[in-house]
């Protein structure tokens, strides 16, 4: 398999992790209007938990599933602290999630230390492509497809969209908007956890890996204005591929800058469009 193809597959795999992280941000933002800066911590917590569970002898699959479940539960906890008190504004919620993300460092260092960790993924290769990358792509496709179906085809998904669209009317028809917000945090936490669990076998994770993930996930989500999952997926894949190409042909030192530049370009482009609208 050629060098370029290798970079592309690696990039798509990496992009899937960004898309999952970004989709978690989107689900939470759509329902609660909170930009969750603790999103990267879900990935790190999920991944580090799996390293411990595997070391304790749990089989693959079960350990990863429990890691994702724990991330979902931590998501609910973050949601309770950030949005549970009636009258908490999304801006206050954002600052709370930022604080909780920093607090997560202390918890992670306490339990797992400050050294990077990893665990083995799916072994082998198909046509020169590492099988684990195919697993990342396949699982991401299934999970994001299921999330899209949840929102489009179920009453729970409609209620989540309704809560995001008009919390007052949602309350008037009997929807518990706080509970909907917590459910969104649970889904966001699980998506973040899944990103961490999937990526760790090909990229070591440590307590501060959340920054790179959340910056890339946020860059992906901002392409869809933090509300459109489809564009978040496109943004994540694009970012992953560009990062892989930059890392492969230039230097891995520039990879993290790619996400920041991507985010800046999208934000500046959007700001320009808003100015045009306002001017009109």
């Amino acid at each position: 398999m050629g060098e370029l193809a290798q970079y592309l597959v690696t990039g798509v795999g990496l992009g899937c992790a960004y898309a999952l992280t970004g989709s978690g941000l989107v689900v939470i933002y759509r329902v609660t209007r909170v930009v969750n800066f603790a999103q990267g911590s879900f990935a790190v917590l999920g991944a580090l938990t799996v390293t411990t569970l595997l070391a304790a002898g749990l089989p693959h699959g079960v350990a990863e599933g429990l890691g994702v479940l724990l991330a979902g539960l931590v998501g609910v906890l973050v949601g309770v602290v950030a949005t549970g008190k009636p009258g908490t504004t999304p801006q206050a919620g954002l600052i709370v999630t930022l604080g909780l993300g920093v607090f997560a460092y202390a918890v992670e260092i306490f339990f797992w230390g400050d050294q990077p960790r990893s665990f083995p993924g799916l072994p082998g290769a198909v046509g020169g492509i590492q099988t684990h990358y195919l697993l990342i792509i396949g699982v991401t496709a299934v999970v994001l497809g299921a999330t899209a179906l949840l929102f489009a085809r179920t009453d729970l998904g409609r209620a989540l969209t309704a809560t995001a669209a008009d919390p007052y009317a949602a309350r008037a028809v009997g929807i518990d908007v706080v509970r909907m917000g917590l459910f969104a945090f649970a889904v966001g936490g699980a998506l973040g956890g899944l990103a961490g669990v999937l990526i760790t076998p090909v990229q070591q994770v440590s307590f501060d890996s959340d920054v790179a993930l959340v910056v890339s996930g946020f860059s992906a989500a901002i392409l869809g204005n933090l509300t459109r999952p489809g564009l978040t997926l496109v943004g994540g894949l694009l970012l992953g591929v560009v990062q892989a190409l930059v890392g492969g042909y230039l230097s891995t030192a520039y990879q993290s800058e790619v996400a920041l530049i991507f985010m800046l370009v999208v934000l500046i482009a959007r700001a320009g469009r808003r100015d045009l609208v306002e001017a009109a």
């Binding site: 009453d155 409609r158 969209t161 669209a165 008009d166 007052y168 008037a172 028809v173």
Partner: protein, 218 residues
Amino acid sequence: MIEARDLVVRYGAATALDGVSVSVRAGEMVALIGANGAGKTTLVNTVCGILRPAAGELRTSGRLALVPEGRHLFGPLTVDDNLRLGAWRDRKNRDTGHIYQLLPELVPLRKQVAGRLSGGQQQMVALGRALMGRPDVLVIDEMSLGLAPRVVENLAGHLRQRHAEGLAVLLIEQNARLALDLCSRAYVLEAGRVVAEGPSAELAGSTEVATAYLGLES
């Protein structure tokens, strides 16, 4: 159905309702009229459990549904999805078929996104969404606001029909003429207090009430 006594509702230091008493009995159609800022929507939100009174007594019985001021539809969802969510509390009765029979104007709109409908169409969807919960009492906040007279008449016709079938209605309106025409009894709210109440015909005939509070010519 609805029995509110001496309700007091405050927003911080400001008193929005100051000892308000209103009642709606089974099968009754009652109007609550008053100018902007009189406290009508605060009363609606209190009756519907969205606001908590600082003092007073509130008793409701039967199923209560709200058509809020400004429609408040779920814009990104279709008309049919909006209707389904009207029965959110009643998981087993989310079939929207009976609403299309009651409000046939909604049939061609069922797959359309609610946020792109006209004001009149949106008000019809809001009414359908409220009826989805098969309520015993319907609270409608500013039904006619911003709508053409022909649309208002159509909505009023539907309301009369539902009322004839036994639905109790609390109609909150700035359009006093419409409210008094539709309802048998009315309350007049001003600055958070009930300043007049009684049979609609009596209120409409009272020169003092009509000129001071209802904007009607004597």
